[in-house]
Amino acid sequence: MKHTQKELLALRDEVSEMWKLVLSQLEKSKQAFMNRDVELAHEVASREKRVDAFELKIDSDCENYIALFAPVAIDLRLVLSMIKICSTLERIGDFAEGIARHVINDECLQVDRALIDELQIETMFETVISMLTDSYAALESENTKLTGKIIAKDEVVDELYHRAVRLIADYIRAHPEMTECGLNTMLMIRKLERIGDHCSNIVEEIVFYIDAKVLKHGTKQSR
């Protein structure tokens, strides 16, 4: 294998490691939230620095690769997509930390358990986690066949989010003394909705890398 390819593989390996870390952060933030596990939430918050460190390292490596090897064609698309995926993973990491902080700081953890179940927060967590897992598998196998299904899951998350907004509004109207807690819960759910959007963005980058197609903003252009 030529050394330029080894450098690219090393770059991909770094992104894979970052991906696994962010996935683990997301899974742990889910457990922390669902189980009211403040200790686990602290662990997620403290590991966020590692996600940030990955982003800085990968950004720097991508810059170096472009400057030193002037990649073209599929190599260029790989480096460009890695830059964007890395930045998006970092944002997802931020949201996972935000959820953990919600668990750490929120005095409303005793909010009605029946409401949490009705909001289907666990389903939202599982859906975004599966989006991130499946998109990782798509990149590893360089197979874009399943990407449409991954993006479709974002619509499920969006529907759950809009439904949750309505339910929380009803809850606040019925329990005005719980307004702050209701709003905090909605902000937490909003983070899950944004994670779904970011997972879709990652899938778009994978399609750009593998198929040289641009799916952004509803377009379907071939490069």
């Binding site: 030529k2 330029t4 390819q5 002037a70 990649p71 073209v72 064609a73 599929i74 190599d75 260029l76 698309r77 040289a212 071939s222 490069r223």
Partner: protein, 248 residues
């Protein structure tokens, strides 16, 4: 416009070009890339019949410039070369003054009008982005110029006879990065008035200067497309392997 139709070219028994069909539009830059011996320079030299100087060659197919087959009977090669200038890999000024190098083609073609020659020399040197550097030493030997200046002088010499097409065979491969950048900038400017075809081993140069790129391998035209497309998403795996350095 340059067009080839099913061109085969042979050096003796060796087939250097295989069934090449291609069209290059007016006022565009077309780059040919490919490994050594792939046929790209042979193909370039078809357009001003430079290959005619090599013994035992044979051409099949058509090679058209502005619709005229330049290999048809009765075509005057000298007339063709007025229309199709050429710049080579190594700067090759004549052992004459800067002025006389540029005026040479005009004089050979019978031009005697001193004022016209002076005007044309200045215009050509300006077009080659060299006028500012040599206007005060036109009578000095061309050999006193740097390598990059000599190459731009050769471009000025090619432009002096007002060709419509300029062929460049690795015009910057013997030059330092600053001179290379000047030649590339020049190519970019010249395409407003000329059709340019360039052979280069430097793929980034092809990417920077050309509108279209042809990738040759073993005498075949593997891919010919818009340069942007070729360097972002080439159609053929062979092209991708070559431009990403995985070839071989």
């Amino acid at each position: 416009m340059i067009e080839t139709k099913k061109v085969d070219f042979f050096y003796g028994d060796f087939q250097a070009l295989k069934n090449i069909s291609m069209r290059m539009d007016k006022n565009t830059v077309t780059a040919f890339i490919g490994p050594s011996g792939c046929g790209k320079s042979t193909f370039l030299r078809l357009f001003n019949r430079m290959n005619d100087l090599i013994p035992d060659i044979h051409l099949k197919g058509e090679c058209l410039i502005d619709g005229q087959d330049i290999y048809a009977r009765g075509v005057e090669v000298d007339e063709l070369r007025k229309k199709v200038g050429m710049v080579f890999q190594k700067p090759n000024p004549f052992p004459k003054s800067i002025f006389e190098n540029v005026a040479y083609g005009l004089r050979v073609n019978g031009m005697r009008d001193k004022n016209f020659i002076e005007q044309r020399v200045e215009e050509s040197l300006q077009s080659a982005a060299l006028w500012g550097e040599v206007k005060d030493k036109l009578r000095k030997s061309a050999f006193e110029l740097s390598g990059g200046q000599q190459q731009r002088l050769c471009i000025a010499r090619a432009l002096a006879i007002s060709p419509s097409i300029v062929l460049m065979d690795e015009p910057a491969s013997a030059l330092d990065p600053i001179s290379t950048a000047k030649i590339e900038e020049l190519i970019h400017d010249l395409k407003k008035h000329y059709t340019i075809v360039i052979v280069t081993h430097n793929m980034q140069q092809a990417a920077r200067v050309s509108d279209k790129t042809g990738f040759f391998m073993l005498g075949e035209l593997i891919e010919f497309s818009d340069t942007k497309k070729m360097f972002i998403n080439p159609e053929k795996e062979q092209t991708q392997n070559y431009i990403t350095g995985r070839f071989g």
